[in-house]
């Protein structure tokens, strides 16, 4: 789960990592005051959890307090990439002599933390990896041991820093790693980390992604993610894994891999999936009811394909939940059900009684769903 730049900035400040002076504002008059107090040109940064907010116009420079107020009036309340801007961070504009990259993330294959540093900051890590791979210093950090001081020094040295800048870089490196561990992040980075003309360092941007599974230990960050459509939010509240797609055939299944495969098979036969909806491995009739009801809220559906492999899940439970949801929604969308496994006979009977036919094979069912949707 991403947290806002201003939240990551608070963590940076608590560790005394230098950041530009600034303030979080929710009204344009606050922005004006903040700009006045800073007595410098300011950068106004929309606090939204989407990638590429800069290119989308969410980050703006203002030379005067009144310019800042004008910009804030336009930004606050506007919608950028589908997300409403509720607050902006107003910070002094800092002219960097050089922009560095410094971050920690997780290397899945190696099962290690990894420290990444580069003398070419500013662009995102992905772009950096593509365009300047030889400018990236990468070092695996032992999860059971943690970051050693010498590793931080090695990073500074490897990206060509010396003197006080190297010492400061090592210090910031250790602090970001401490944050990374304390909040149990997937990613914690400063990018760009600016070298100013006097050789000091300032973290111009701070980005942290938390591990959703660890939020129970960090309740202060719960319910933060706004980078979701209303349906995705509802699904998340109901404990369903739901991703909205741009097609028109709704897809429900039990198990992430099976649902992904169902999407693939439907696409293979020319269908356009409207969503990914995983009910989970051991689905009860309540869960099925919630899932089907949610899927049917998608207004553009041309068909709904429910694909259940009842290993632990009982097919009769699935059937009951499905019938109840269909009754509740009174939908006209054709519903195609593929259902095999535990208590299959009983499940099929319940569905047949409600006028829903079932198929044996995922592929046959996918073909049928495409046919019903587009003809």
């Amino acid at each position: 789960m991403k947290i806002h730049e201003y939240q990551a900035r608070i963590l940076f400040e608590q560790k005394k990592i230098p950041v530009p002076r600034g303030k979080l504002c929710t009204t344009s008059s606050e922005v004006r005051t903040a700009a006045q107090e800073l007595e410098k040109p300011v950068v106004i940064k929309s606090q939204i959890l989407v990638a590429g907010r800069g290119k989308a116009g969410g980050i703006r420079l203002a030379r005067t307090p009144s310019e800042a107020e004008e910009i804030a009036k336009k930004l606050i309340g506007s919608v950028i990439k589908g997300i409403k801007v509720n607050s902006v961070l107003v910070v002094e504009s800092v002219e960097p002599k050089q922009e560095l990259y410094l971050g920690f993330t997780i290397d899945r294959g190696a099962r290690k933390f990894v420290l990444i540093a580069s003398s070419q900051g500013g662009m995102d890590l992905e772009e950096l990896a593509l365009t300047q791979p030889d400018k990236i210093f990468r070092r695996e950090i032992e999860p059971l041991i943690g970051l050693h001081d010498f590793e931080a020094r090695l990073a500074a040295d490897s990206i060509g820093l010396g003197g006080r800048t190297a010492t400061d870089f090592s210090s910031i490196c250790k602090k970001i790693f401490a944050i990374f561990c304390e909040v149990e992040a997937d990613l914690a980075e400063s990018n760009p980390l600016a070298v100013t003309y006097d050789g000091s360092l300032v973290a111009l941007d701070s980005r942290i992604t938390l591990d959703d599974n660890a939020l129970f230990r960090h309740p202060e960050y719960r319910n933060e993610s706004e980078d979701m459509s209303p349906l995705e939010r509802e699904a998340s509240q109901r404990g369903l894994a739901f991703v909205q797609l741009d097609g028109d055939i709704g897809i429900i299944g039990n198990g992430a891999g099976l649902v992904m495969a169902t999407l693939d098979v439907v696409s293979h036969y020319g269908g356009r999936p409207a969503n990914f909806l995983d009910m989970g491995g051991g689905s009860s009739s309540d869960v099925v009811f919630n899932a089907v009801s949610l899927a049917l809220k998608q207004t553009n559906l041309k068909a709904l394909f429910v694909n259940v492999l009842g290993g632990i899940t009982r097919c009769d439970d699935v059937a009951r939940g499905l019938v109840q949801a269909l009754k509740g929604s009174q939908t006209k969308v054709p519903v195609i059900v593929r259902m095999v496994g535990n208590n299959e006979e009983e499940g099929r009977k319940i569905l047949a009684d409600a006028g829903v036919a079932t198929l044996d094979s995922m592929e046959d069912a996918a073909k049928l769903a495409v046919q019903k949707a587009y003809t």
Partner: protein
Amino acid sequence: MTILVGNDTKVLVQGATGREGRLHTAAMLRYGTKILAGVTPGRGGEIIENTVPVFNTVKQAVEKFPQLNSSIIFVPAPFASDAVYESIDSGLKLIVVITEHVPIHDSIRFTNYAYSKGVTIIGPNCPGIISPGLSKIGIMPGHIFSKGQVGMVSRSGTLTYEIAWILTRAGYGQSTAVGIGGDPIIGKDLLEIVEMFAEDGGTNSIVVIGEIGGDAEERLAGKIKHGNFKKPVVAFIAGRKAPPGKRMGHAGAIISMGTGTAASKIEAFKSAGVPVAELPSQIPELLQREFEEKKKENGP
């Protein structure tokens, strides 16, 4: 022969008295798994399913049943990590972590610790291991699997059952099926399990079920490309149509920073000479074709 789980497998159930623990203890016992003991702190002295004594600590269970060698963990995510350390400490050599939603800073630590102690971890967030007809340490429905010589390894749960069912109906029984789990950090990965199958006398071919996210498939393909694998390998990759930046159910199934796409994995397998099925139903015929190919390559 099989890998990881077989006749000698003697199982401890951690989190035995919870709902999931009880349900699957019963299912495993029915399947024939030798479950000797359960552990739930504070519940020592109870008996579940009429036969399985529950202890407060793994130490007590192992003292009572020194033949225990494997553990399956159902304890809730906040305590799963501790349960893993407790089993490692008591000398169990195979630990299957069923628990979902284990924090990644926990799993990255306990997988490293387990490696340093020579302990095999499967999972977390996985269906477990089944050697059909012999034993299972997991939550998969046993009746879908059948005894045979195909080694299966998969990052998913129900998709594994789907493909096992297709194989079973096509007459391809399985030596062992291993569900390694859908989290970003897991114990044994695709490559490590495939290497075990490559060495296993009871396995004549391998079905790999991958999905988007990470580079486990690419690493496996690289090893196959430059290694000396004699057994047919067939792959399936879920998530061809998944959009980037979205987690597709599994925490690990996410295309991020341009890596982990299905296209990249399929390309890697193809370049290693591993056929990738476009539909699950194609897997038996691809296996058949590979058997014939390998027969030609390896000679009579």
